[in-house]
Symmetry: C2
Subunit: 125 residues, 2 copies
DNA sequence: CAAATTAAATTACATCTGTAATCAACCATA
DNA sequence: TATGGTTGATTACAGATGTAATTTAATTTG
């Protein structure tokens, strides 16, 4: 039950794998090394740690390995965001939204999106 | 300009000091040690690290010290929450709210609060 | 004043994280 | 078949973090 803890760097690797479903180490290297200024070795380390933590499943494909997320993205997102909202805003979303807004971090389109969402939710109740 | 990085444990100390304005070490110990299962030494360490990071100001009051936040809570909240929303939801709030809602993490009162907030914001535009 | 108490500073140490070099196993080729 | 390249595994190492014991300096008390 204890949710797997993913570090910042590891989360970038997970993000990529979540996006593409699964990939070999070299695909991950190609996709992330340059952008993050990592060497190949660093990416390999992250993949390994993720594997050891049980966040990734590995399947042999000939001489190479294919990594696939075992940790469910939705679960992780919820864990992380719940944790932050709990820690920073006592678990309440409105203060967070308000905070964003009062610091000019809420664009018109964000607002529109939120309004649509709230309306939809209201209807559902 | 580099925003001060506060660890999880440190943030609990900051939270207390933000709430009460300022306090002596022993007041912080009394308030937090038990609840967090920390010894006095641990609290002192956290206070010291916070002081070294420049997150706290210290003022001597007779033989003891009074610790006061130098880091502004609002700034920190914004940094932390912006960081999370950026990392997890591409900087967009609506997906976060939607995510919460779809996992039953949005109570009726949260929703009401959000609705009120959105309306207020709408009016302001 | 010497001894005990208190409070802050220093030091400690294991784990986690970022970052990477090196090692080992497996293939392909000269 | 020996050699070198590819790929995953192991080892490394510094800085951050959680957690705390020890030391030192100041204070109160017998």
């Amino acid at each position: 039950m204890k949710s797997i803890r993913i570090s910042e760097a590891e989360s970038r690797v997970m993000r990529y794998l979540w996006d593409c479903g699964s990939a070999t180490a070299s695909e991950v290297v190609d996709a992330l090394a340059e952008a993050n200024d990592w060497t190949e070795a660093t990416v390999k380390t992250l993949l390994n740690r993720l594997k050891n933590k049980g966040a990734l499943a590995v399947r042999a494909d000939g001489r190479r390995y294919v990594y696939t997320p075992k940790l469910v993205r939705e679960d992780w997102l919820l864990d992380e965001s719940t944790d932050l909202v709990d820690r920073l805003f006592d678990g309440r979303l409105a203060p967070l939204v308000s905070h964003f807004s009062s610091h000019g971090r809420l664009s018109d389109s964000d607002l529109a999106e939120l309004r649509a969402l709230i309306e939809r939710l209201d209807d559902g109740r």
